[in-house]
């Protein structure tokens, strides 16, 4: 009898741990999240993430730069690894900024502080996509692409023109969707929500005693959490009312996953977790804070996984009838697959897929003539392998 009761309790506890209800553990009843992500001290907002907003804007200009054939590799490299004062962007504020995208790519404390080897390899991938866009694709901008030859290909029915390498890959898509993992996801899940970062130095003591960062209205710990928030909502005009169409990166694709009825509610769950976690910092309740971090890790990882499967399945459907449309989907899928290595299984220090597992997927996709001769079965196998590590099915993700 005791055994039965115990197992029922375990099931019950499991169920509760899956729900995002925030009343399942002791000690957090004193944390009350505000209606929106709005926190103040003495009448002034304590929320700040301008650096994240800046990097999202830089990434937007850089990705747009992939389609300007007059751009040299040096011009694009300078946008990626901007230095303060250089006129790399059309926006003067971005030019003045001392922030850049490259230094924060594959740069989280948890994953890369003691793994600069992988970090360097990942940065080298992004560098190579820039270089190859300039070297391979720009010279063939007006040529019709064929298997083994870079060029342009128009989607059927008079659709958009796609600019691809010899294997059918759009480097701009690889770069943009890869950045969703290497910059946004990695910085949020593995850096700013990391205990190592939130509790660094005297952060806990300072937060407990209301000691503010020098010259600021927030504590260091509050600010770290806000910086995580900023990589998802930093381009929103009003982060208290997110539109989820504010950028071309994680924000946009959270919106896309939210738009799939199978995943409706995920956007609110993520927003609520950010809100409650931030309120927990104000309330000095670090258990509740860390629980919210785990929720965010699981759900943002799920966004990456769903979109990877979605694009592999979308591309599969039009491989023979509309190659340009298929290659575009698969190029987006390539980027989301690449991003899987930056995901984070909750309550662990591990991604859903390791770098070597991701590299194996990429190698498979790029075998021989790449997308020109990838088999539909291959796309199914990869999609199924991805879905198997998450709590969703290929069917749920694919439309």
């Amino acid at each position: 009898m005791k055994k039965i009761i115990l197992s029922l309790f375990v099931v019950s506890a499991l169920f509760q741990s899956c729900s995002s209800d925030d009343d399942n553990t002791g000690g957090n009843e004193n944390v009350i999240a505000p209606a929106t992500y709005n926190f103040t001290r003495n009448g002034s907002t304590t929320v700040s993430y301008s650096g994240q907003t800046t990097r999202i804007a830089m990434a937007e200009e850089l990705v747009s730069g992939f389609k300007v054939t007059s751009n040299s590799e040096a011009v694009l490299d300078a946008m990626f690894a901007h230095e303060a004062g250089n006129s790399d962007f059309s926006d003067a504020d971005l030019n003045a900024s001392d922030k850049n995208v490259r230094s924060k790519s594959a740069a989280s404390t948890d994953y890369f502080a003691s793994n600069t080897t992988d970090a360097n390899a990942i940065k080298a991938d992004f560098d190579s996509w820039i270089k190859l866009q300039v070297d391979e694709v720009f010279p063939n901008w007006a040529n019709i692409a064929t298997a083994g030859n870079a060029g342009q290909l128009q989607e059927g029915g008079g659709g958009s023109t796609r600019y691809i390498n010899a294997k059918g890959l759009e480097y701009n898509q690889a770069f943009a969707k890869g950045l969703i993992g290497a910059l946004m996801t990695d910085q949020i899940l593995n850096n700013y929500l990391s205990v190592a970062v939130l509790d660094a130095g005297s952060n806990v003591e300072d937060n407990n005693n209301g000691v503010l960062a020098e010259g600021k209205v927030y504590t260091n710990m509050e600010h770290k959490w806000d910086e995580a928030f900023g990589y998802l909502y930093g381009a929103e005009a009003d982060p208290e009312l997110p539109t989820l169409s504010a950028d071309s990166f994680l924000n946009k694709y959270l919106g896309r996953v939210e738009g799939d009825a199978d995943f409706a509610g995920i956007a609110q769950d993520i927003y609520d977790a950010f809100k409650l976690g931030r309120a927990a910092i104000v309330a000095k309740n670090y258990d509740v804070r860390d629980e919210q971090a785990e929720i965010i890790r699981e759900l943002i990882s799920e966004v990456i996984g769903v979109r990877a499967v979605y694009y592999l399945q979308q591309g599969k459907g039009s491989l023979t009838t509309d190659p340009a449309a298929a290659f575009h989907d698969l190029s987006e899928g390539f980027g989301f697959v690449y991003s899987l290595q930056f995901t984070r299984k909750p309550n662990s220090n591990d991604p859903y897929f390791t770098k070597s597992e991701v590299d194996a997927f990429i190698t498979t996709l790029m075998t021989n003539n790449g997308f020109w001769d990838v088999a539909p079965e291959t796309l199914d196998v990869i999609a199924a392998a991805i879905a198997a590590q998450f709590d969703f099915t290929v069917d749920e993700a694919k439309e």
């Binding site: 009761i5 019709i144 342009q152 290909l153 128009q154 059927g156 008079g158 190659p323």
Partner: protein, 367 residues
């Protein structure tokens, strides 16, 4: 501790989890379990509507080919008039087949090679100039078909005299000829497939699965109504999907005065298919309408009938030239769009739900 209440809730939760697991197995197979004879509907569609319409289009394109040959042999005003007339007659019949994007038509992306507009005059002129082109390549989807002929016959120069002069150049004559021959060839391929193998495959595919003929055919119909008819002909030029109206995106831009004619034909074709009216005789057979009646959805049939009449009326009041209509009184265009949109909702939501058919297409990603 382990209170009785907690145990109760645990059991309750488990029950809920079991109850929530969806059972989507659908007994009944061939008739979808609702007792309706789906095969009879497919037979009426294939034998009395689809195949006769393709036969007529094939004949009209044969006539176009003949007029075209006469014209390029003797490019004069009379022959230009003949080829234009033949083009319009074929274009009108096209409105009866564009919705049948299934079987061979789907496999060879037939519709993409027949009626993509706006056509790319840049691509057409480049093809003419080079004399070297693959008309089937997706990059040429917007340089072939009826819209490309619209440009070649009406817009390739400023007036008829100048157009005739163009055809003294063998490159233009060759491109015109290749376009027409390709359209005829593609249509023959699709028709032949219906006549030889696909008809039987089609009428026997009555299961309710994503790949069965009735599900695909019904989805194709609804998709066509939403995209090919509502959006392409009316919504896009009227600016319903953009910041400002885009009158240069109308169907039949260069001939200018046939946009309304073509749209009216398209709406008529869609309604006749819904009613199950034979292409040649207008005799009525099994159709979406009779299927709905079988399901006791006379209410939906009645509403749809009303909405078809209303949409027709909204199209009737438009200028022959949609380009002019958008520029002079775009409100009438958006009113026509709204009337068509009401039908889209009834077809896509109410009718598909009644048939227990899932929508198999999603709106494009848009990036």
């Amino acid at each position: 501790m382990f209170t009785l209440r907690k145990v109760f809730w645990s059991v309750f939760v488990i029950c809920c989890m079991v109850a929530c697991s969806s059972s989507d197995d659908n007994p009944g197979g061939g008739n979808n379990g609702d007792g309706y004879n789906r095969g009879a509907l497919l037979i009426n569609m294939a034998d009395n509507i689809i195949i006769p319409a393709f036969q007529d289009l094939d004949a009209k394109l044969e006539a176009l080919k003949s007029s075209k040959n006469t014209f390029i042999a003797a490019p004069n005003q009379v022959n230009l008039g003949e080829v234009r007339t033949a083009w319009l007659e074929a274009y009108k019949v096209w409105q009866y087949v564009e919705m049948f994007n299934i079987g061979k038509a789907e496999a060879i992306t037939y519709a993409f090679q027949m009626n993509v507009y706006p056509t790319s005059t840049q691509d057409i002129e480049a093809n003419v100039a080079s004399g070297s082109y693959d008309l089937e390549h997706p990059n040429n989807n917007d340089a072939v078909g009826f819209p490309a002929l619209d440009y070649m016959l009406f817009g390739v120069d400023v007036d008829d005299a100048a157009i005739l002069t163009k055809y003294a150049d063998a490159k233009y004559a060759t491109y015109l000829s290749d376009l027409v021959d390709q359209m005829k060839s593609l249509t023959s391929i699709v028709l032949s497939d219906w006549n030889t193998t696909y008809r039987d495959e089609f009428v026997n595919s009555t299961d309710n699965t994503a790949t069965s003929a009735l599900n695909k055919f019904t989805n194709d119909y609804v998709f066509y109504f939403e995209k090919g008819l509502r959006a392409n002909k009316i919504g896009i030029p009227a600016g319903n999907f953009s910041a400002t109206p885009l009158p240069e995106k109308v169907e039949g831009l260069y001939s200018d005065v046939y946009s309304k004619t073509l749209s009216l034909e398209a709406l008529k074709a869609a309604e006749q298919l819904f009613q199950g009216e034979a292409y040649l005789t207008n005799a009525k057979g099994e159709s979406f309408k009779t299927y709905l009646e079988f399901l006791k959805r006379e209410d939906l049939v009645s509403t749809l009938n009303t909405r078809f009449v209303e949409a027709d009326a909204k199209l009737q009041v438009l200028n022959d030239s949609f380009y002019d209509q958008v520029n002079t009184d775009n409100t009438k265009m958006t009113q026509a769009y709204d009337a068509l949109q009401k039908i889209v909702v009834l077809l896509k939501v109410d009718m598909l739900q009644a048939f227990n058919i899932s929508v198999d297409y999603v709106d494009a990603d848009g990036d």
